[in-house]
Amino acid sequence: MSAHDHPKAIGGSLLDRSMLVLLALFGVAAVVMAYRFFAGVGPVSNMTDGFTWGIWEPVNVVVFTGIGAGAYSVGLLCYLLNKGQYHGLVRPAVLVGAIAYTLGGSSIMIALGRYWNSYLLPWIPWWNLSSALLEVAICVIVYVTVLWIEVLPSILDGAAASRSPRWAAIGKTWGPRLAKAMPYIIALAILLPTMHQSSLGGLMLIAGPKIHPLWHTALLPTLFLVSCLSMGFGAVVALVTILNLTWNAKHDPKLFADMSKVNAGMLLFYVVLRVADVVWSGKLRFLALDFPTLLFVAELALFLAPALMFLSPRVQRNKGRMFGAALLAVAAGAAYRVDAYLTMYRPAGWTADGKPIAAGWNYWPSLGETIVTVGMAAVGVALFIFVSRKFPVVVVEDVRDEHTHVGSGPAKAAASR
């Protein structure tokens, strides 16, 4: 990490137009959520006894936390493999992680039919220790806390630089203290997602024959873990590219190219695992000219495309193509997760030759569910903007560099390295 790599608060107007749009989207969602708490989950959603999770679980929890896994994947690179050059990416990635996991957790509260019983969750004597869902719940709750603690250094740095003497004092005392505790926090931050991201796959393992055979495999936990890493790397590249365009964030193409090679490895590893598993367990017979096969192939293509792109020098040179590939990596993980959780899930299961058994249940997210999911995503983005405007999260391109202007990030960053 070079000397001028320090993150800084972006500043600027908090309530600009994009912020207002985001807050308006969340406002509509808030109305739906409030209504849901009084009238019940039925009137606002299309959840049934057959499709009990709707899209709030597969999207708000499983996909959001996949995107939030940027904190995990960058943490792995930066701390576990000791690649200090990725340090500048940690703060934005951790902030995204904290926000995504918080939204995922709060979505559960909205989706719970009897949410008023949830206060019993921390009561350890009542824990069912053989429940995968409990593992996810506890692990995610702890990890949300850990992530916000990881965000704290930014907040304390901001406080230390604050003009208010009281804030400054708090920041100056607690910043170094927290820094001492950080190695343990980081250890937890690596351990916990390893546990619950694989448990998210484990949840679908339990669903057994309700998942299409092409998706139901003993490798579900592994595939979920690998896909969260690829989503995380992708999300960080996409995020920093956007930040570079809007706030002139430091954008280092060489760094991204290196990281994306790791990501390409992850994506390819996923494809190899997936295909080998299908071949190995004799599931090739399920491949036919039908929807599941089409989806299966499309998913594999979504994983393969960014992997090949990341490895191509032509793409590595171009910020936009890298951005596109990163988006594809996120989309691939998201598609896999939604398919395993929802698209390829049938309440009555699948026949031996891979046809869905009719059970009278159909599902498409209701207007209310879509509004809540969109609103949650919107408030997440709003929160990110707010925190990075107020506190030092994003590493900005060195302002002393006279040539710096929007759009010329990569070259300059390359020059300054």
Binding site: V32, Y35, R36, F37, F38, A39, G40, V41, G42, P43, V44, S45, N46, M47, T48, D49, G113, R114, W116, T241, L245, R317, N318, K319, G320, R321, F323, G324, L327, A331, W364, P365, S366, L367, G368, T370, I371, T373, V374, G407, S408, P410, A411
Partner: protein
């Protein structure tokens, strides 16, 4: 200490060990919600000869409460109750009669004035000046007022003494009423029930004797430890109620399988008592619902002896409060519609579209700068 209680009371000769003795005291303490050490303290006090003096008055009743007290089972708790408390006046249990017994009452009143526990069993008639119940030439209402004036604590045992019970059932020819209605302004602990559970009495008396306090009471004078909840809440058949499994008729399959008796007229949902938690006379299941008969609501004024036994009552605390949202899927408000499908698809389309457009634009810009350099 070894034979503390039994030695003093001479219980060994009655075949009651110290262990049994402490056990009874502890059960009594537990019944009033006191910790186990309180039971030991009670036993200690009794062993020291500080037995609470009890004056027991009988009025309009069947003596069922006394009978159930005497028939507490192994170990001979009936005997123990009589040894744990010093019953100085009790018309059913006294060997003496006539003038002799009246003298005993006078003596007990003077010796323990302000300290003794008055237990009232039976309703008190008020009609025609209270002439319908007289003992030793004195009207029940006068005796009660006189004795209560000197009592340290007043306990009304059974539904008759608590609120009128059977004697007050319509048309109530004697104007029978409960002790609290006569003794206005005094604290009367009521232990309604037909009969009341002996342990509820024992616990209350021993708490008063040991600590000089009464258990927490509700606005009808009922100890909250025993009457705080309705039977329905702690009923052993409650899971059947919640699952909708009901006996529809006596002897039907549901009845034989031990299903909920609500549809046979069970008054449990409105009757405050601890029958489902504290066995009568230590016999497991010895209460109406336990033996397959609906609760008749004997403890509850306005239910017992008032509402016919097999008449259905509405459930007092039926389900979760109305503020809780429904669980049933009712997708009417923002549920199924073409709009939902449209909006959902539009959102996915917008995300994909934005990704494609942004990628193209940034790529093009990036290429331009590449070209420049």
């Amino acid at each position: 200490m070894n034979d503390m209680g039994s030695e003093v009371l001479g219980l060994e000769t009655k075949g009651v060990s110290r262990r049994d003795f402490i056990k009874v005291c502890t059960t009594a303490a537990a019944a009033v919600g006191l910790p186990a050490w309180a039971g030991e303290k009670m036993a200690e006090n009794v062993a020291k000869g500080r037995k609470p003096s009890v004056i027991w008055l009988h009025f309009q009743e069947c003596t069922g409460c006394t009978e159930s007290l005497l028939r507490t089972s192994h170990p001979d708790v009936g005997a123990l109750i009589l040894d744990l408390v010093s019953v100085d006046y009790h018309e059913t249990l006294f060997a003496a009669a006539g003038r002799q017994i009246e003298e005993a009452l006078e003596k007990a009143l003077h010796e323990n004035e302000g300290k003794f526990v008055l237990v009232v069993e039976g309703a008190i008639p008020e009609k025609d000046g209270g002439i319908y119940c007289q003992v030793g030439g004195k009207k029940a209402i006068d005796t009660l007022n006189a004795v209560a004036a000197k009592a340290g604590a007043i306990i009304a045992i059974g539904s008759c003494a608590s609120w009128g019970g059977v004697p007050s059932a319509a048309p109530n020819p004697t104007g029978a009423t409960g002790a609290p209605q006569i003794l206005k302004g005094k604290t009367v602990v009521t232990l309604p029930g037909c009969p009341a559970n002996p342990y509820n009495l024992l616990g209350t008396v021993l708490q008063y004797a040991t600590f000089g306090t009464l258990p927490a009471l509700d606005d009808l004078g009922r100890p909250k430890f025993a009457y705080g909840r309705v039977i329905h809440e702690d009923c052993q058949r409650r899971p059947h109620f919640d699952a909708g499994r009901f006996a529809q008729a006596f002897g039907d399959e549901g009845h034989r399988n031990g299903y909920c008796l609500y549809k046979l007229g069970c008054k449990g949902p409105q009757t405050h008592a601890n029958c489902s938690l504290l066995d009568f006379c230590e016999v497991p299941g010895a209460w109406p619902v336990g033996i397959g008969h609906p609760c008749v609501g004997c403890t509850e004024q306005g239910v017992g002896f008032t509402v016919p036994i097999y008449t259905n009552l509405p459930v007092q605390n039926p389900t979760a409060p109305m503020a809780y949202p429904a669980i049933h899927p009712d997708h009417t408000v923002l549920g199924k519609s073409a709009l939902a499908v449209g909006v959902g698809s539009a959102v996915v389309g917008a995300i994909v579209g934005a990704g494609v457009v942004a990628t193209r634009k940034i790529s093009a810009d990036s290429e331009k700068t590449e070209g420049k350099e």
